[in-house]
């Protein structure tokens, strides 16, 4: 996708986040959720680049122009997942009704003892991946991400759960990728996002909601190089305290019958984009790429 998201500063100050954490912890989730209403109105009225991007996305995804109510709901879903991150990071999963689909897919891959790459997107809450530890599974999960471009999230994680902050692998450079390889060799899980292009990334043009958009090849190429299976991961927010975690196998027969390294990466990135599109249609409010995704990157 385009690099446009990098040009938008993260709105909401550090102070704002600190206040939110305090409210979330001291006053509790119901009160904190009430505060999301004025916050969402503020962003709805005050942040036209993101509002335009959401409107554009919803029009393509749903085939009709989005009204103010829908735009508000979209911001509200986003704000809810940011708030809930506080509870996820503190391990307070009992506050939520989390439904899991496709855990057997993950179990099957992990049983082979060579780990797997969980390929996600900025859709809903990737942080819901942490909830899998709930199910009596001792999972070694590392997340490969560009933390430098998410200082607020990084600060939040370090403040609330320093041990979890250590499980993040800062992307960029061979050292990070060797860490990924070592984690997979231990049979661990590496989470990565497949939908935002960074300047270091190779990207390919894919059809996404009928129009061309750039998608990074990195996560899939990485999995191929280390010969790790890819499992799709979506942590969808379903309103209220409900989350739906979906795990899906990604490696198709064509891929499995060949040497993974020789598989056509472009074809696989398009398959990912296609599946992402389908999931987006199921949960359009969960699309959290608030920039013009279809803008061609250079």
């Amino acid at each position: 996708m385009s690099l446009a998201w990098r040009q938008q500063s993260e709105r909401g100050s550090h102070t704002g986040i600190r206040v939110m954490v305090w409210v979330a912890q001291v006053l509790g989730r119901p009160v904190a959720r009430l505060l999301l209403y004025p916050i969402c109105v503020y962003f709805l009225l005050g942040s036209w680049p993101s509002r335009r991007a959401i409107a554009q996305f919803r029009k393509l995804a749903l085939g009709r122009p989005a009204g103010w109510g829908e735009l508000f709901r979209h911001y509200h879903a986003f704000a809810s997942t940011i708030l809930d991150r506080v509870y996820f990071l503190r391990g307070q999963f009992d506050l939520f009704d989390i439904r899991f689909h496709g855990l057997d897919v993950l179990d099957r891959e992990l049983a082979k003892g060579r780990g797997c790459v969980l390929l996600g997107a900025h859709l809903g809450s990737f942080e819901a991946v942490r909830a899998m530890g709930l199910l009596g599974r001792q999972l070694d999960i590392r997340i490969l991400m560009d933390e430098q471009n998410a200082p607020l999230i990084r600060g939040l994680t370090q403040a609330l759960n320093p041990a979890m902050a250590d499980t993040v692998i800062q992307s960029g450079g061979v050292q990070a990728l060797l860490q990924v390889k070592e984690c997979l060799e231990r049979g661990g899980i590496v989470g990565a996002m497949g939908d935002r292009v960074t300047p270091q990334d190779h990207a390919v043009a894919c059809t996404f909601f009928g129009h061309e958009a750039q998608f990074p090849t990195g996560a899939i190429r990485l999995a191929r190089v280390v010969q790790a299976p890819v499992v799709l991961f979506f942590g969808l927010y379903r309103g209220g305290n409900r989350y739906e975690v979906r795990l899906e196998s990604f490696d198709d027969d064509a891929l499995l019958s060949h040497n993974r390294r020789d598989a056509d990466v472009t074809r696989d990135v398009q398959r990912y984009a296609g599946r992402l599109e389908e999931i987006c249609r199921l949960a359009p409010d969960n699309w959290f790429n608030f920039y013009d995704v279809w803008h061609r990157s250079n």
Binding site: G172, G173, V174, Q175, A176, L177, L178, Q179, V180, K181, E182, Q200, H202, G218, R221, L222, V225, V226
Partner: protein
């Protein structure tokens, strides 16, 4: 272009790089002191990882993320060859 004073290992390594990463470049055209990644050959960190796997297979030298010298090792053909010479087990 001729490699200026490339050692035998450097020449073999250049061939391994071209072969592993399926480059169209002539191995002999890889300058020992030039930057391997970034601008030079247009290689990225995933290529570096793939190369490290090939190095492990060919020379029995397993690169680790904990190696503080990792960036220097991948800086040029010469640096990489020197690290292999020092650590190779086959």
């Amino acid at each position: 272009m001729e490699q200026s004073g490339a050692s035998l290992l450097e020449r073999d390594l250049a061939k391994l790089i071209v072969q592993t990463l399926k480059l169209k470049a002539d191995p002999a055209a890889i300058e020992p002191e030039a930057a391997l990644f970034g601008e030079g050959l247009g290689l990225d960190s995933i290529d570096a990882l793939e190369l490290s796997l090939a190095i492990s297979q060919t020379y029995g030298y397993q690169l680790k993320s904990s190696d503080p010298q990792i960036k220097t090792i991948f800086s040029s053909l010469r640096a990489l060859a020197a690290a292999i010479e020092k650590n190779r087990t086959k």
